[in-house]
């Protein structure tokens, strides 16, 4: 998936006369990314369609029921975005989520006083796992797929070791933290919005984030420029792990009696959200905000299909179609396809 390279360059190159002009001084504003626009429009459309065809899917109760889970998925998708931006893919999502959930519920075992220690422990484990994966990938040059696959198995071992496979109820404080409402929205939503905004800000506005994107776009060029390539790669896995851990702790508060393998269902949607958000699986520029919105999109899609009352499997097919379209939007040369279909079509000005 050439991300938006092919598209943008195709557009610019065809206007050969324009590129001959010297740079125009004055405001040539940085546009919001294509992925962000696409997912904003798609999410908007989905809510309109839901409202028109299946208002129940947007009823107060079902909306508020959907939001906490969308928030959890959004935080995970933001983490997955960081890894994908470095050209990787993180298969350790289920293990990280599950172990965070288990640590946050098993250690306190309903005792609120033990919650802070448990949360600290969960972050400690996440930090260690992120450092291990990041070290193996950035220093030893191991394949991200293999490394995160192995790490996931180790984390599952940890999950079973701690829990023995039996769930325990969440503590009341954690439940309040995650699901209590403020201005009639669940807290989890605020967590997700704050985290997404913070990561989005760092990636897009800070020196570190800008260099992080440059390393992902072309590690060799980044090295030749003198950037600390390995440190950025390592950081991707560490921060991703910490984000998964946060999502897991939220999830532990949302689900009153979470299972030991609560994270299992989050791997595919997290990758799907990243792809739908327009971040190329080849790495480089990415938009955490778009990924988080895509998480909302996928969650509402679930809700919509669920209230339609059709077979739940339709959800998978719609997701697959959305994913295929989401990739094709960026990889297929639509201009060429259109010219091929209608050779005489006048050239539209690039938007």
């Amino acid at each position: 998936m050439g991300s938006s390279v092919d598209q943008d360059s195709a557009v610019d190159v065809t206007d050969a006369d324009v590129t001959d002009r010297p740079a125009r001084p004055g405001p040539g504003r940085a546009r919001p990314s294509r992925g962000l626009l696409t997912i904003v429009v798609a999410t908007g459309l989905l809510f309109l369609v839901s409202l028109a065809l299946q208002p129940e899917s947007l009823s107060r109760s079902s909306f508020l029921g959907m939001l906490p889970f969308a928030a959890v998925l959004a935080v995970i998708a933001v983490g997955q975005t960081l890894v994908v931006q470095q050209g990787g893919i993180d298969l350790s999502v289920p293990g990280m989520i599950s172990i965070s959930v288990v640590v946050a519920t098993h250690e306190p075992n309903g005792d609120n006083a033990k919650l802070p220690a448990a949360i600290l422990l969960a972050y400690g484990i996440a930090l260690a796992a992120g450092l291990l994966i990041g070290f193996l990938v950035s220093r030893l040059g191991m394949s991200p797929i293999v490394t995160t696959l192995g790490a996931n198995a180790l984390l599952y071992a940890g999950v079973l070791g701690i829990s023995g496979g039996t769930p325990r109820n969440t503590t009341s404080v954690l439940h309040d933290i995650a699901t209590g409402t403020f201005l009639s929205l669940p807290h989890a939503v605020y967590f997700a919005v704050l985290i997404t905004a913070a990561v989005g800000f760092v990636i897009k506005q800070s020196v570190i984030g800008r260099r992080f994107e440059a390393v992902g776009a072309n590690a060799a060029a980044a090295r030749a420029t003198g950037l600390a390539v390995r440190r950025h790669q390592l950081a991707a896995y560490v921060w991703a792990s910490l984000l998964y851990c946060t999502a897991g702790i939220l999830l532990a508060g949302i689900v009153t009696a979470p299972s030991a393998f609560q994270g299992e269902t989050y791997l595919l949607p997290s990758v799907a959200a990243v792809v739908l958000g327009g971040t190329s699986l080849l790495g480089g520029k990415g938009s955490p905000v778009a990924s988080a919105l895509a998480a909302l999109f996928l969650s509402q899609l679930d809700q919509f299909v669920l209230t339609l009352g059709v077979n739940a499997a339709v959800k998978n097919l719609v997701e697959a179609a959305a994913l295929a379209l989401g990739v094709a939007v960026y990889t297929v040369n639509w201009r060429r396809l259109r010219d091929w279909v209608r050779p005489a079509a006048p050239q539209a000005s690039p938007s």
Partner: protein
Amino acid sequence: MTATPEPSAPPLLRLVEVGKSYAGVPALTDVSLDAPAGVVHALLGENGAGKSTLMAVASGTTQPDGGHIEVAGETMAALTPALATRLGIAIVHQHPAVLPDLTVEENIRLALPPGRIAGPGGAKAWMLGLLRRVGARLRLGDRVDELGVADKQLLEVAKAVALEPRVLILDEPTAPLGADQVRVLFDQVRQAAERGTAVIYITHRLAEVREIADQVTVLRDGRVQGSGPVAGFSDEDLLRMIVGRGVASAFPPKNAGGADGPVALQVSGCGGTGFHDVALTAHHGEIVGLAGIVGNGQSAFLRALAGLGTRSGEVRLDGVALSGRAPADRIAYMPADRHAEGLMGAMSVRENAAVAALPGLARHGVVARERERAAVEAEVGNLAVRTRSIESNVMSLSGGNQQKVVMARALLAAPRLLLADEPTQGVDVGARAEIYRILRDVASGGVPVVVASSDAKELEGLCDRVLVFSRGAVVEELTGDAVTEEAITAAAVGANVHRRAEDERRVRPWLPGLRRFAVGDYAPSVILALVILTLGAYTYGQNTRYLAAFNITSVLTLLAALAFISMGQTVVIMTGGIDLSVGPLAGLLVVVASFFVNDGSSGVMMLGALALTLLTALAVGGLNGALVRYGGFTAVAATLTLYIALQGISLLLRPFQGGYINSDVSALVTAQVGPVPIAFLVAVAIAAGLELRLRFTGWGRRLRAVGSDEQAAHRLGVRVNRTYILAYVTCSGLTFLGAVMLMAQIGVGDPVQGVGYTLSSITAVVLGGASLLGGRGSFAGTLLGAALIQQILNATTFLNLSQTWQYFFQGALILVAAAAYTQARRRSRVS
């Protein structure tokens, strides 16, 4: 030296008044060249003189605008690469088209028609003889990845020689070779000529022309400057023709102060890969040039100065010793390969230009947008970068403007030293002059500039001091008025330095045999087998029921399903792809079968159902392949889409468990000989068959070739798209076999079974030693990898270990194995 051709015979290859222009700029003008049988014809000229274009025309890669080509007296309407090969025209490329993950033998077999490899003593003896003839001290089993540049070049020569072409074109073949190897190569060239081959020999070096060639043609600026018997020209004549007498008005005035300024950069005793014993002193205000023919160490030295790659010796910048990679704001490096190392492709001009200077444009770590924009606008204006806006994608710019963006990045960071490797390569004439001006401005501003260039004229016009490299060493240092194109070229082409012995043969730290085994394809298999035996023995020691017939049957039956699916995964991973959809596909096939293969179903119906499931599998494989090759999807994106869709279809067909599989079919699938299931024996047989095909057939070589180096495979005539798609289809076909096993094991249509096989199969393949980068792996290894996974699941129960340990062992194994294999491969690589 030559067989006298019959006077009446027409030249084997004849180019008549060939012309070629690129975008209105002539690359060749009325160039004629004869290559008669038995004659070595040298083609001499500088970089950019048109030699490569001429040879691309001669080999059919490029179509000329004017003139025509005659082969053995016959005028060719249009020459294509395939036609050229059929007519007996062979080229030894400057950058060998060899496949790193394949062995020497496999590279030879892939490049030659099968009928060619035969002789007394068999194919191996023939190939060994071939390698001996070109002076390559190689073993057929050596992996090309582990060869040095020289050996790769000799392999490329061997492939061309083996074709026994009528016309042999060699493009600077001696650049990476040592003295002995050059002598052997020249013997080969002479022998070929004696056999009546027409040889065209492209070179920069006058000494080589004297030694090997009968005829010489000199090209400059796409025109023939002179042609005739070598004996008819003196060295001075040839030099004059190469260099010409052009007026270089495009250059800015040089440094007035000469070498009077304070010393800025002091390098002594600097050595590294490709260069040695380099000393350099650069003063403030100076531009220092590194001259030499491409690949003689000047670029490697420049990279080492930039901190890319290791070096020995001392480098002092303004009196401070440097070690390792200096930060972006101390030393700016402009790479020669803009696309690989210069540009961040998906990003805008602004993002590319600002990346090194960001800390200076930020407040508390946050980039100040307006400051950034103003700085980039100013630099872009100063360098006269032509772009629609600074937000345009950097790839939409012309080559010269892209180079200016790289330059803007370097200058915005306000470095203390500027290093530029071939700064005007692929840059049009107008932009060149501007780049020269900018470099001079930088130097005048007190920042020393070091420029590596293969264009002597450029160095003459630009530099205050020039170091001429030949075969990794500085052979001449020119300063002031002595910096002339003639002096530079004379030093570069006249030098008779040979590469040092260490560079020719790489150091072999281990026992050769052990080393070769450790980096081979079967080391993982042997290690896995040992682990399996040890674990088995230990478990048996703890619990003798472990080897009871019942347990053996059950483990091997389970193993068969995983083995089939993992072997399919191996095929795809060998191409550098990955198939995430195998698990859900296996599940779907069982679900489909559960509708038809029931107790009471007729035999015809059941056979039809099997055919249906097989077709479904093959269609899914085809779709995966098509998305990857024609849809622009990455393998992960394509197969993840199918993963979700297939799971959806399974759930749609069977929301709940249902449809019991025919018990006779189950019995048939799980039939056994003694305690061993027949299905397991089938899996072993298929693994063995695939392994043999992988090593010894065209299918196997092509599969690994596309995974190893897609571009090189394409140049060697491999049909790349077809090979990829076939790999995905084969994978699905093997998954079908796995699904047949699952039918019997699960016994019922279940929408969620099978999904887990995706990750298990990848684990098995990785344990088996395949590289996810493609090009290597083995089916035997995959089978053993699958066996170990299954054994761990089984043994832990006999050892009374909990599921925790199952996960722990699996995770630890895959990490340890992948780390070990990755390290072994890294060490084996020479670069």
